[in-house]
Structures are given as structure tokens and as C-alpha cells.
């Protein structure tokens, strides 16, 4: 069994934990409201979200309790396990909306693509820690880590799950930047990335292409994705300054919003709590991200610093893609809003990631 050091409590990063719990609470409330039906006390979604949150907090504690140096040693094992799960998805997986993403585990099912975010972060941080040239990475030195990313990203893209594959790619690029890279390599990599885009487009499913097209020109598909985008904007805007009040969102009630408890949960919050509410929500997220960067700055070693930055990166990109979509600034891509969107795997993953940050933050004073 693990020996539990009492100092872990006294050095605990209470601020990070508090911010996490507050956002989690807002999330359960938003899911509750999004799926609320008059006459029913608790919607099954809200109840399930609560139990997922409980499970996630256990996961967070586990990620916190195991010494991160041990996690660094296990990084490849965990990474390998998540690859095995990803490979199993097409075999054992169950599908939803035209894509196979879930693996059933008896009473619940998980999306291995979500867990892959954390395991990928661990191996990348480990590699960037083990090898750190003072003048930054050259392009050649990035080939190996790029392969580490390409394998899970390719598997996820094949599911198909464009959103998560994109997050994996963005995590890599951002982490490379944080770890230090020669300017020349960065520019070249950016150019190469630009070259990949047409390829990516070629491999996208028709519904994915349609989403991108309808973002670029909402009138091209006023019935499908364009409709979602217009409705989402109306929902957000109709909240005005003070919002319509908890459970009072009419857009939400009338089912104008698709996927309102998952991808469009932000719009539900915006409608019911208005500009003031979204401002508070964004402030909480901002504080969380800044706290993660501070943790990275104070971290004892490069591995833990990179883990903390990586967690911030994952949360940031998902938040940007999701909220951008809710505000009609980015195409409709299914990326959940960290800590708020309904969905067990995403919640579990974010909480485990934050558990790692807590781990890093707390242990820096212990040795």
C-alpha cells in the first residue's frame, strides 16, 4: 500500500482544489438545467454527472496520491495501455452518431481517446525532461515525440473523433513550445502542419466537412450545422446582462439547442446567467489556468513543470474550441468543455489531469 505522508495535507494546493470544485459544481448545475424537465426532481443526466464527478474525484485523488516521479517511470506503461484500449475500440467499441468511441466496462463505458490525453502528456513530459538541449529542440529531435503523438492521434481520428485528435495535436505543438524549441524548427513545423491540412480534409467524413463548410459560410447549410450555430448564438445572446435565471432558459427548454448538456452547455449557462455569469465562469477558468502556470513555474523539476503546463494546455485548448463554437467563432467540433460538459470520460480525464497538477504542486515542497 502507499504510505500516505501527512505533509501532503498541510502542503495541499487548496486554491487549485477549490477552483476545481467550484467549476465542477457549476457544471452539475448546468447539466441539471440543460436536461431539466418540469415535474421531475432530478434529471437522470444530472444524477449520472454527479456520480461521474464522484468517480472523477477518486481518480483525481489517485493521480494526486501516487508520487509523480513514480508516474514518470510508469509513463510508457500507461501510454501503452491507452494505445491498447484505443486499438480495441473498433473491435469492442460501441458506436454513437456514426463513430465508434466507447468501450463498455459493464456498468459504464469509457472513451479511451479521452484517457489518451493524459498518458500522452506523461510520455511527452518524460521525454522532454530526459533530453533537453540548452538551445532548444531541432526538428530532427522532435521526430520521435511526434511519432508518440501520431499513433494515438491517428487511432482517434479513425474512430472518427476529429475534436480529440485535434486536442492531441495542439497539446503536442504547445508543449513543444513550452519545452523550448528553436525558432527555425517551430516555423518549419508550422509550415508542415499547414501542408497536412488538405490531407486531413481529404480524410474527413462528410459530416465533418459539412461542419467546417457551414462554419465558413453558415448559409450553406441553414438546416444542419449552420442551424446549430445560429441557435447557439441566439441562446447565448438572449441571456443579456443578467441572464434569464436558473432553469428559465427558453431556448434550452424548447429544445432549440442540440447536444445542449454536452457540447453546448456553455450556451445554457450563458442564457441563464447572462454576461455577468459568463464573466464569472471565465474568471474561474482563467484563475485555474494561471494557477497551473504558477505551479509549473515553481515546479522542482522539468518533468513536473511540463506536466503542469500540459494540464493547462489541455484545459485551455478544449475550453477555447468549445466556447469558440458556442459563440459561433469556431466550427462545430465535438470537444467537451472541461469540468462543465456532461460526459464521464471527459470529466474523469480532466480531474485526473488536475490531480497530477495537484500532485506536482504539493510535492515540490516535500523533497
Amino acid at each position: 500500500m502507499l504510505k500516505f505522508d501527512r505533509r501532503l495535507i498541510s502542503h495541499l494546493d487548496w486554491l487549485l482544489l477549490l477552483l476545481t470544485l467550484m467549476l465542477l459544481g457549476i457544471g452539475v448545475m448546468a447539466v441539471y438545467s440543460a436536461t431539466y424537465q418540469s415535474g421531475h426532481r432530478l434529471s437522470p443526466w444530472a444524477t449520472r454527472q454527479l456520480s461521474w464527478a464522484a468517480l472523477g474525484l477518486i481518480g483525481m485523488f489517485a493521480a494526486f496520491a501516487i508520487d509523480y516521479r513514480r508516474l514518470e517511470n510508469w509513463a510508457y506503461v500507461l501510454y501503452g495501455l491507452s494505445l491498447v484500449l484505443l486499438v480495441l475500440v473498433p473491435v469492442l467499441g460501441s458506436s454513437g452518431g456514426g463513430a465508434r468511441r466507447w468501450i463498455g466496462l459493464g456498468f459504464f463505458s469509457v472513451q479511451p481517446s479521452e484517457l489518451a490525453k493524459v498518458t500522452l502528456l506523461l510520455v511527452l513530459a518524460r521525454d522532454f525532461h530526459r533530453y533537453a538541449p540548452p538551445q532548444g529542440y531541432s526538428l530532427r529531435e522532435l521526430i520521435y515525440p511526434a511519432i508518440l503523438v501520431a499513433i494515438p492521434a491517428g487511432l482517434v481520428l479513425a474512430e472518427p473523433n476529429l475534436g480529440t485528435a485535434m486536442v492531441l495535436g495542439l497539446l503536442f505543438v504547445s508543449l513543444v513550445f513550452a519545452a523550448g524549441v528553436r525558432l527555425r524548427s517551430f516555423t518549419l513545423a508550422a509550415l508542415a502542419g499547414g501542408g497536412v491540412l488538405p490531407l486531413l480534409w481529404h480524410h474527413m467524413k462528410p459530416y465533418q466537412k459539412q461542419r467546417v463548410l457551414s462554419f465558413l459560410n453558415p448559409d450553406s447549410d441553414p438546416l444542419g450545422a449552420g442551424y446549430h450555430m445560429i441557435q447557439s448564438k441566439i441562446t447565448v445572446g438572449s441571456g443579456m446582462l443578467w441572464g434569464k435565471g436558473f432553469l428559465q432558459g427558453t431556448q434550452n427548454r424548447l429544445d432549440f439547442l442540440p447536444e445542449k448538456h454536452t457540447d453546448f452547455v456553455f450556451a445554457v449557462v450563458a442564457e441563464e446567467w447572462g454576461f455577468i455569469g459568463t464573466l464569472v465562469l471565465l474568471a474561474l477558468y482563467c484563475a485555474l489556468l494561471m494557477r497551473l502556470l504558477v505551479i509549473a513555474g515553481k515546479a522542482r523539476d522539468r518533468f513536473s513543470a511540463l506536466v503542469a503546463v500540459g494540464v493547462a494546455i489541455i484545459v485551455f485548448w478544449q475550453l477555447l474550441i468549445n466556447i469558440g463554437m458556442n459563440l459561433g467563432m469556431l466550427p462545430v467540433v465535438g470537444v467537451p468543455l472541461p469540468l462543465l460538459s456532461y460526459g464521464g470520460s471527459s470529466l474523469l480525464t480532466v480531474l485526473i489531469a488536475l490531480g497530477l497538477a495537484l500532485n506536482v504542486s504539493t510535492r515540490r515542497l516535500l523533497f
Partner: protein, 624 residues
């Protein structure tokens, strides 16, 4: 270097790390500023406007289902079409008092789905602007009544939709199939379907769903609080489905079904040079129009519970022992393998002892000495027992498979059965017992484990007729996209060339001609006065030892009657297979007259009218 891995780590922070963290923090703050400014614009600057859009409700999505493709016969005559259908709907949002409206409505619409005095079933997932269907496919008089009393029943509206219209009396019902509302399993399998959409459930409607369906359209409209349309914000026009031109001939199909009337069984008529399915009938039948208007649960259950299985397409789903029709294959195989020659004679005394068992001929007294042509004409079992012994089970199975038996032919319809061509490997795998030599004797006369579908036997007849080419039976000749004007043609497709010598073909054809035309032939009832017909009878036993018991047996034990044929015998163009399930009579007595009728009708239709019958292109005309 860095590989030195100690438990105590130095506090390493490459000098450039902190500034990059600063850059990241700055980028994040910048992004948040953009998000906040966007929120400010949407919620504060445009808030008023968007709020009123959300309140006046605003944007509605009105879907227009696509017009399903029309199905034509080979001459361009309509088989399946669409007809307008009127539904009475209630838009709850537009009704000030739903209860009162419903109450008033029951005076005009006799049977709505909502009983008088009740209110609408609660469905939280349905937006209140969306109409609830109260009565489907109402009569004209009801429609007029509702339109005339619009003021008394606010919120009630009439919705026009289309319903599938199938030919009357279940014509080609098994082939055409039917549509129904999509179920949850189909929705998870095929994305893009919504609750209430129609989807092909059976037959051509199912197999050609992707072509027939078309693409739904819709309008995004802005309406005011009373539901009045203010303006159309966006529109996507529905695209009608593609139309199909079948190989089927409507008239011949009608005749074939008439010939089967009152019996259970199937008839397949093929063009021997293309594999075109000219007619495919199966009895008993159902009425697909019942499905088109929405089948009631008790109707569905009684269809399912019917012991005669009217939903099953016997022509492709029914698997029966081929009986003596199998002998034409065996004759061809024996000649090709060289185990006999056309001159080889065997003597039939009414039975052949084999092991400690006597294998009987259907003719008690025996046929005496005959050659192969006579053995086919008189369907002598003993002759073919000898042939079977010389061929051996593996050669028998090899040739049967070359003719397309033992596996589905790949007709473009669902649920096609493949039948069984047994051999030692098959028996080992399925029954886990070794092959007994005596079983070969059952197989050679089309009994034992052998089963085939009527379609497969029609293909066998066509293959003998055309000299050895196995065509994939074709039901759809052409797919036409009327919106874009493109036409896709389906060419005849050769599955296999059996590889028959001309002498083999000639002799088997001669034997089959004698079946119908020789005084001793078993299929004389198929004779036509002006056209030379070639055929083969078959009587397949359902249980052992009932040969000749006829109609005294309970139905399920009675023999099946077979007749396969092609004509004209000297220049074949058409092949027919007919199976009568549990006919209780032999193929010559029961099935041959049916085939005679179908062939007579075929020649009356083709010879009587235009000679270029098969070349006529359809006139496509869709009224939308």
C-alpha cells in the same frame, strides 16, 4: 548527462523556461479577452435583438421529406409511385386552449389518435411549435370538414405528405417490398434518418434504399408569436429519389401470379441471354399498401403468425429439394466428366440394389433399357443411380456449384438463400458424420440433403438453354436521377461459365425437349401448339417413403412439384422455373401445366405485340 537518474534531483530549470511561461500566460489572457469581448457583443450589444428572436420564437425548421423514387417495369410502366396523403395536425403553441380545440375537432374528424376529453400526450422532447399528428391519411370529406371549420379549431392544420402506392392485389409484392417508418435500430445503423422518416424494409425498397430515398430539404423560417411565418431565412430544396427501371415485365408478372393463384409456390421467368428477371411470383402474398399506410399491430401479428408465411419470398428464400430437375445437371456433369457417353445404356427393372437396400425407380415396373436422352425424357431414377455411382459425390457437387447452386446468386435483393449442395466435407462440418455411399444415390436424383431455390433452378434452366453461361439474375436495369438527368445502366453480369461441350448441351437440350414432346415424356402437359418447349419435371419428397401417396397425406408431408423449362427449344430466349409447395402431385401433373400457361402468356405478349419488346426505353414522367 541527463540519463543519470538519481532519486535526488537537482532543481533544474533551464534559463529559458520562465519567460516562455510568461508568453503562454499572456496568450491565454489575450484569448480570454477576445472571448469576453465576443460575449459582450452577443449578450450586451446584440442581446436585446437576440433576446427578442428567442422570445418571439423565432426560428423554426420545417422539413420537407424527399419524394421517393418511382419504380418502373422494363417498359417504363409505373409499378410503385407516390400519392398525396393528408394528415390532421395540431400545433400546441398555436392553440390557445388545446383541450377545447381537441374537443371541437372530434366533431369533424371521427377517429383521432387523441380520445375526446383527453389532452395531448406529454412529450418533453417535442418542441411546442411542432405539429402533433392527430389523424393520418384522412379521407377527402374529413379534409374538407377541417378546412371549412378552421375558426372553431385554432391550432389545427392540415399537413400534406406522400404515401407510397403499390400496384393492387399485391402484384410483385415480394420483389418490390415495402417501406415503413424508420426504427431505432435502423437509425443507429444509418445516420441521417430522423424519427418518422420512411425507410425501405423489404425487397427492392430495402435493397435500393440509397437510390430511392432522395434527400430531404427544409426551410428555416422566422415566425411570430402566433406562428405566422415572417420570412424564410434559408431553404434547401428536397431532392427526389432516383427512379428504377426494373427488368420485370408488368404484364408477364400479372400472368405468372394468376397462374399461381390459389396455390403456394413460386415462379421465376428469366431472359436466358441476360439473366433479366422478367417475372418473379411468390404465393401466398401480402398487400404492401397496408405497410405504406402504416400497418396496425394486429395486422402485423397475423401476417407473422400465418402458417403459410406470406411475407416470405419463396422464389429466393424458399429452399426445396430439386427432385428430378437435378438430373439435367447430372446428365451434363456425367458427359463432361466422360463417365458415360450419349450411347451408354442402362437397364431399369424398377430398382437398384445397393448395399443391403434397394433404391427404387419412381416407375414400379421399370423402364427397361434406355440411353441418356431417354433417361432424361422419362426421368429414370435407376439410370441416374448408375450415373451417380460413376460420378461420385465430389464431381456431383463440383458441377452443381458451377451451375450456381449451393450459394446465393447475388441477386440485388435481401434474404436470398443459397441452398445446400452436400459433399463429404460439408457433412463432416455440419453434421460431423462421414459420408455414406448410399447418400450419393439420393443426391443424384435431387433428394437427400440437396436444397435449391426456385431462382437457382430458373438459372439452371437458362444456363442449359444458353449453352453454359451462368448469369447473375438482374432485377434493376437502370437507375435514373431525374434531377441531374444522369442514368446508370446495369449490364448483364456473368457469374461463371460452366464449360460445356456443344455435344453435351445438345444432348441435354434434346432430353429436355423429349420430356415435353416425346410420347413417353414426363412433362407433356407443358406442350404448346406453336412453340417447341423443353423442360424437366421434378417431384421432391418432403419425408421418406411417401412417394405417390399424393393428396391423402397431411399438407406438410405432401410432395413439392417442380417444373423447369426453356423455350423455344431450338432457339431459346426464356427460361422458367415453377415450384408448387406441397402440391401432392408430381411435377408433370401439377407444375407443367402452370409453366405451359406462363410460356403461352409470354409468347402471346412478345409475339402478339411489338417484336422489339425488350428494347423500349421508358418515358420517365414524374409529377411532383
Amino acid at each position: 548527462m541527463l540519463e543519470s537518474h538519481s532519486t535526488l534531483r537537482p532543481r533544474e530549470s533551464p534559463p529559458s523556461f520562465a519567460p516562455r511561461l510568461g508568453v503562454i500566460a499572456l496568450l491565454i489572457l489575450l484569448t480570454f479577452a477576445i472571448l469576453v469581448s465576443r460575449l459582450w457583443r452577443l449578450q450586451v450589444q446584440e442581446g436585446e435583438n437576440l433576446r427578442s428572436l428567442s422570445e418571439n420564437n423565432r426560428l423554426r425548421l420545417k422539413r420537407t421529406p424527399p419524394l421517393r423514387g418511382v419504380v418502373y417495369d422494363r417498359q417504363g410502366r409505373v409499378l410503385v409511385d407516390n400519392r398525396p396523403s393528408f394528415n390532421v395536425v395540431l400545433v400546441p403553441e398555436d392553440a390557445p386552449d388545446v383541450r377545447a380545440t381537441l374537443h371541437a375537432l372530434s366533431d369533424y374528424v371521427p377517429d383521432t389518435t387523441v380520445v375526446r376529453g383527453e389532452t395531448l400526450p406529454h412529450n418533453p422532447r417535442r418542441p411546442s411549435y411542432e405539429g402533433v399528428v392527430l389523424a393520418k391519411d384522412v379521407a377527402w370529406s374529413t379534409l374538407v370538414a377541417v378546412e371549412a371549420h378552421q375558426v372553431d379549431i385554432p391550432g389545427v392544420d392540415v399537413e400534406v405528405s406522400t404515401k407510397r402506392q403499390y400496384p393492387p392485389a399485391g402484384l410483385a409484392a415480394h420483389l418490390l417490398g415495402y417501406v415503413g417508418e424508420v426504427n431505432s435500430r435502423e437509425m443507429s445503423l444509418f445516420p441521417g434518418y430522423r424519427l418518422g422518416d420512411l425507410i425501405g424494409k423489404f425487397g427492392i425498397e430495402k435493397k435500393w434504399e440509397a437510390e430511392l430515398r432522395g434527400q430531404g430539404g427544409g426551410q428555416q423560417i422566422e415566425v411570430d408569436a402566433t406562428g405566422k411565418r415572417l420570412r424564410v431565412l434559408g431553404e434547401v430544396e428536397a431532392r427526389a429519389g432516383k427512379s428504377l427501371l426494373l427488368t420485370l415485365d408488368r404484364d408477364l408478372q400479372q400472368k405468372a401470379e394468376a397462374a399461381l393463384e390459389g396455390r403456394e409456390g413460386a415462379i421465376v421467368v428469366l431472359d436466358v441471354h441476360t439473366g433479366d428477371v422478367l417475372a418473379m411470383a411468390s404465393r401466398p402474398v401480402f398487400d404492401p399498401n397496408v405497410f405504406a399506410r402504416g400497418i396496425k399491430l394486429d395486422e402485423w401479428h397475423s401476417l407473422l403468425a400465418d402458417p403459410l408465411h406470406p411475407l416470405s419470398n419463396r422464389a429466393i428464400q424458399g429452399q426445396y429439394p430439386p427432385g428430378s430437375t437435378f438430373k439435367v445437371l447430372m446428365a451434363a456433369a456425367a458427359l463432361e466428366k466422360g463417365v458415360i457417353t450419349p450411347a451408354t445404356r442402362f437397364s431399369c427393372s424398377g430398382g437398384l440394389p445397393f448395399g443391403n437396400h434397394v433404391f427404387h425407380c419412381w416407375k414400379k415396373g421399370g423402364h427397361g433399357s434406355l440411353d441418356l436422352q431417354q433417361a432424361i425424357a422419362q426421368s429414370c431414377d435407376v439410370y441416374f443411380y448408375q450415373v451417380g455411382q460413376r460420378l461420385g459425390i465430389n464431381s456431383i457437387a463440383e458441377y452443381a456449384r458451377r451451375f450456381g447452386l449451393g450459394q446465393p446468386l447475388g441477386i440485388a435483393l435481401d434474404h436470398e438463400a443459397g441452398g445446400v449442395i452436400p459433399d463429404p466435407a460439408w457433412k463432416k462440418e455440419v453434421l460431423n458424420t462421414p459420408w455414406f455411399a448410399g447418400e450419393t444415390l439420393s443426391v443424384v436424383i435431387g433428394q437427400g440433403y440437396v436444397t435449391v431455390t426456385p431462382l437457382q433452378m430458373a438459372v439452371v434452366a437458362a444456363t442449359i438453354a444458353n449453352g453454359g453461361t451462368v448469369y447473375r439474375p438482374r432485377v434493376v436495369r437502370q437507375v435514373t436521377d431525374d434531377e441531374s438527368g444522369t442514368v446508370k445502366e446495369y449490364e448483364p453480369e456473368v457469374i461463371n461459365k460452366v464449360g460445356l461441350k456443344p455435344e453435351t448441351v445438345q444432348l441435354v437440350q434434346a432430353g429436355m425437349r423429349d420430356v415435353v414432346n416425346s410420347p413417353t415424356g414426363t412433362g407433356k402437359k407443358a406442350q404448346l401448339p406453336d412453340i417447341l418447349v423443353a423442360g424437366k419435371t421434378g417431384t421432391s419428397q418432403v419425408i421418406a417413403g411417401t412417394r405417390g401417396k399424393g393428396k391423402t397425406l397431411p399438407r406438410q408431408y405432401r410432395d413439392h412439384a417442380w417444373f423447369i423449362a426453356f423455350a423455344p427449344a431450338d432457339n431459346p430466349e426464356v427460361a422458367v422455373a415453377c415450384l408448387l409447395e406441397h402440391a401432392g402431385e408430381g411435377g408433370g401433373a401439377a407444375a407443367a401445366p402452370v409453366v405451359r400457361q406462363v410460356l403461352a402468356d409470354y409468347f402471346a405478349l412478345t409475339r402478339g405485340e411489338k417484336p422489339e419488346h425488350a428494347q423500349v426505353r421508358p418515358k420517365v414522367d414524374i409529377t411532383s
